[in-house]
Amino acid sequence: MDHKKREYTMTIDTKDCFTIEGKLALPYQYFAGRTGSRFITSLRDNKKIMGLECKHCNKVFVPPRSTCEVCFEDISENWVDLPNTGIVTGFTIVRYEEPHQPVKPPYITALVKLDKADTPFAHIVKGIPLSKMKTGLRVEAVFAKRTTATIMDIDHFRPIKEGPSFKLGYSYDALEVGMSDSFTKTISETDVYLFAGISGDFNPMHMNEEFAKTTPMGTRIAHGALPQCLIAPVLGMKLPGLGTIALEVTTRFKAPTYFGDTITATGEVVEKLPERRWVRMALTFTNQKNELVAEGSALVLPPPSMP
């Protein structure tokens, strides 16, 4: 190929190369338009978030736009009020610093889809440790005290304070015959005297050492209820656990409980009753010498399964 070969090399004397600082500074303005303005003034003046609905596509757009971009229908009159609550559909944590940011990093930028809206929009989430941030978090809007007629008239979104959440115990289906759990406590003189007051049972065999000397036990003993009630934390908090309803508890006492004895109450699943989904449990109460203090059975209704 016959073409003029051009010289591509160049002598570069770097003493002549330097840099100059400059700036790009331009004023500008943005018009929200009629629809956008109504959205902003509603945030600013009424603390209300509004959207527009496309009745054809059955979609609610937030922030609102005057035309449905899918079917091209003019939806500019179909205003809907929206609640201030929603769900996080995605998020990222910004860690680097830059002059144009709305808040100082690190901060969470999230997509929030309000309840009843079909489109999410971006905003800041505050009030949750960064490591705990997750998709699916339910949030609510916090409106700004000083307004600027921009989207920042919503200052940020914060997690909705739900009630404390608990983990329920074993359900009927999760329980298996043979499962067992227990609870141990030392019964003290204080427990006995307080129980006397609670129950009204001031029987001198519990309260009067001189009298108790004349009984076959030879000294004061605890009320029967005191070892017996130790099964309650087993059924109610361990096996089956939270949400259990105790339907029937029977106990036969085998040996006295002396002040200072350490009693272990054990419940074991022995039968599952499918018709009513009740569970029968065998109860045993032993002391520090492994002597059987009492035994019995309980019928319980375990908690429902977790969704």
């Binding site: 160049m10 190369c17 330097f18 600082e21 790009l24 500074a25 303005q29 929200a32």
Partner: protein, 275 residues
Amino acid sequence: MSEHNKNSLVADIFGTMESRVNPDGIKGITANYGYVIQGPDGGTWTVCVADGKVTVREGLVDPHVTTTCTDEDWVAITLGELDGMTAFSSGKLKVEGDMGLLIAAARFFKKYAAPGAGPQETPEELIVLKQVLSLDQTFSTGPVMGRFLNALKEKKILANKCPECKRLQIPPREVCAECVVRCEEFVEIGPEGVISTPDVVYYASPDPLTAETRETPYCSCHFLLDGCKGHETMWHELKASDIPRAKRGVRVRPVWNDTLKGCVTDIKYFEIINA
């Protein structure tokens, strides 16, 4: 309201001005605005603005700027039926004196409502967000522009020469724009020369560094420096006070700043050499 009745609003418009003053709009303004309204319902008035107050006087009282138009047009402009700028461009509104003062006047008064007009509907609010985009930048000169800028520090103006067509380029560029070959030969030109084509600017654009507009008039000018010919001109600025004498062929010389930084503005401007 009939057209004739409407024109009779002229007196009312001026009569209600003092009660319709917009305090923010007149802040910092001291000037007299004369109005010559022609036609059967016209008249002459002067709106005197000073110290945050407005006084409307009959007749023309030392106006700094005078606006002339017909009674019909004046009412139409005030009621928003005719755009002031359009009226001016099409010659319906004539202005004598300091035009810059007139632009501020648009904000002096609250909207005028003719007597008997129904309750004013609150116009819907349209949101406007105003910002200044400001980004820092760093520019590399490269060896060619860098050499040119460095030479300015020694009060020397360099051009470079095309090896093929021998054309000079000022400021020097890596390549000849006509022949597309590298230009490696640098030549010192000027520093004196003649005016080639002056461009007097009355309407300035904002300074890209500060977003502020510069004072006018100023003169962007093409100079043919000694050693150059034809269109090998250098584009710079002519001293503002030399503008009335600016003509092709007049001899000029550069005026340098006290501190030279290696920047095109090390030359403050060129000035005419007085014989």
